[in-house]
Symmetry: C2
Subunit: 360 residues, 2 copies
């Protein structure tokens, strides 16, 4: 069977064991005589999948009963609107740190509603770095402070948890959710479109303090209230069952591997291999991110010319290294090395990088 | 391999051939070396799937270039809000016919926004029937007239297309989309949560006149504007790729079977078998829907007592007839017999019904 090393930023590579398991039971889930995509979302076998996925996510994050896991459709892009609609007002706006495309979109949605302030931005530096703690101007009247923890396009990641002076900390972790242990209790709301590190596109995992979810503004449409999802265990209407089922399998796989500590070990080892390949290339490869902001998940770098970059992508593909082309706003290359990317894939890419630099 | 006859209302049974095809290529889609759930939504192989699904849906419905197919997350429940947010105002409200739970929810969302009028309701008759044309009081200042074409819970279906006097006709077809040919050109906007007749939960197919989609109110969040989906070919953000891929496979399957004419033939034959079993039971089984409003998709009926109903469900399950329990708001039984339910399943159920009536 043909398998490539898939460095795409999302949808992205998933653990082969997880895919094989899903394939094997695709026609007859839990001996129900139905596929997981045919079974009622009100049935016991589905309910078990749903609740186990929630429990495993909380366990992996070391969070207790004061947090809830929600499954919501619409992608992180819908969260960009739901968050200010549910939590911000003109008097108590949301405060945003803008560190990349998605952070900027989140800020923009809140700003369009007239309920945003800007705490920091590194846009003038083409988002090469995460702002330092002392650069964050979080207004004390903020409803929350919102960050994008890992910036997929620019390849930067927070390596500290911002001190918000008791303003609730909200984070888009779409591209680094469950990639390493953190003191998640410092966050009031975390969300992730799952298609990068956790499963198939089609669901956002929201992990939030229950106290935030109990009551949403009454005038909001039902499907835009966190309250609706919280009070109905994310089963107010038919959930995106297959995506949730796969997220559950990925969470179980992470647990079996050894949890977030083991993911962090693997991910930092993989990132080191690629950053070393960049740093030891005598300037042939140039990293986009500043060193102290480098992402463990998305490694972005340029080559000496756009012609060489095109050649790099084409020759990489011949070695079964797929999806290494960077986003147009950065140019060059991006290797996304989420949890499921095996170290062999990263080693193959690093070897290819060394040979390519030598030959060009 | 164990397979049951799955009479659940949604998620629901899907064609076995389609499931087998998806299973076979689950690890290596289109020789990409990736699963369909791992492949980039900006890649050529995915784009082909996405655009082919759109084209097949339009072709099956006999619609031309003046209509567009959108793929939106959030379920029909989010459409209940998006429709009034995009199209209705206090001066030009949406007009609703309330014929069941989902029709009522659609009306409620618009009403909560202060932009709804009620054209008809059969709630006082516990939704046993569809209102007649002469009962529809569609105000001439309406932005649209909204119906739920098939009422899953109550087992009723429109057997005529309402004449709206040029008010744009909008229809929720979640439970009968692509089940039979209709003059779809009479509709301005049709939508369906796909998990009943078209694929796995996680996407809504919206088929609408392009002229409606070109401009949405500016103050709406990006993900609530039809314009966003229209202008970006439903690829503004990562789409629910697996659900769309499966919908495409189901649409192709319908085409291979002979299109909507063939579906209608099969579906009316299946419905006749069950309605005959009810009507010829000497009153043992009592249909919920009035005869001229009976659904081809969901057959609802009661038994002489709740004890017998419990026994019916249990004994049916022993015969591999799953999901026949009705919704609590009707009670009794509901057999959902969407496109993918084979006639053998319906025959088995009808035989079981006859024997059960004889023995009890």
């Amino acid at each position: 069977m043909k398998r490539v090393y898939n460095f795409n930023p999302g949808p992205a590579t998933l653990p082969l064991e997880v895919l094989q398991e899903a394939q094997a039971e695709f026609l007859n889930f839990a001996d129900s005589g139905m596929s997981i995509i045919e079974i009622s979302h009100r049935s016991k076998p589905y309910e078990k999948v749903h609740n186990q996925a929630k429990a495993d996510i909380l366990e992996l994050m070391g969070l207790g009963d004061d947090y809830e896991v929600l499954f919501i459709q619409g992608g992180a892009s819908l969260q960009f609107a739901m968050i200010p609609l549910n939590f911000a007002t003109k008097e108590k706006p949301g405060s945003y740190a803008v560190t990349g495309t998605f952070a900027k979109n989140a800020h923009k949605e809140a700003n369009n509603l007239g309920v945003a302030t800007l705490a920091a931005s590194t846009e003038s530096e083409n988002f090469r770095r995460i702002p330092r703690q002392d650069e964050l101007k979080i207004s004390p009247d903020s409803a929350y402070f919102h960050i994008c923890n890992n910036n997929t396009i620019f390849g930067t990641e927070y390596h500290y948890i911002p001190d918000t002076k008791n303003i609730p900390l909200f984070a888009d972790m779409s591209s680094d959710m469950l990639s390493r242990p953190m003191d998640f209790k410092k966050f009031s709301l975390i969300y992730a479109g799952v298609q990068k590190n956790l499963g198939p596109a089609g669901v956002v995992v929201v992990v939030a303090k229950k106290s935030l979810l109990e009551k949403s503004p009454e005038n909001l449409p039902t499907m835009l209230k966190y309250e609706t999802f919280y009070k109905k265990n994310s089963l107010y209407n038919t959930p995106p069952a297959f995506s949730i089922y796969m997220v559950g399998k990925v969470a179980a796989w992470i647990k079996n591997c050894g949890g977030l500590e083991e993911m962090a070990k693997r991910n930092s080892a993989k990132a080191k291999i690629l950053y070393d390949a960049i740093d030891e290339s005598n300037g042939f490869y140039k990293g986009h991110a500043e060193k102290d902001s480098r992402s463990f998940m998305n490694v972005t770098f340029r080559l000496p010319s756009e012609d060489l970059e095109k050649k790099f992508v084409a020759e990489a593909l011949e070695k079964n290294l797929s999806g290494v082309k960077g986003h147009r706003s950065v140019g060059g290359m991006r290797a996304s090395i989420y949890n499921a990317m095996p170290i062999e894939g990263v080693e193959t890419l690093a070897d290819f990088m060394k040979n390519f630099a030598k030959n060009n």
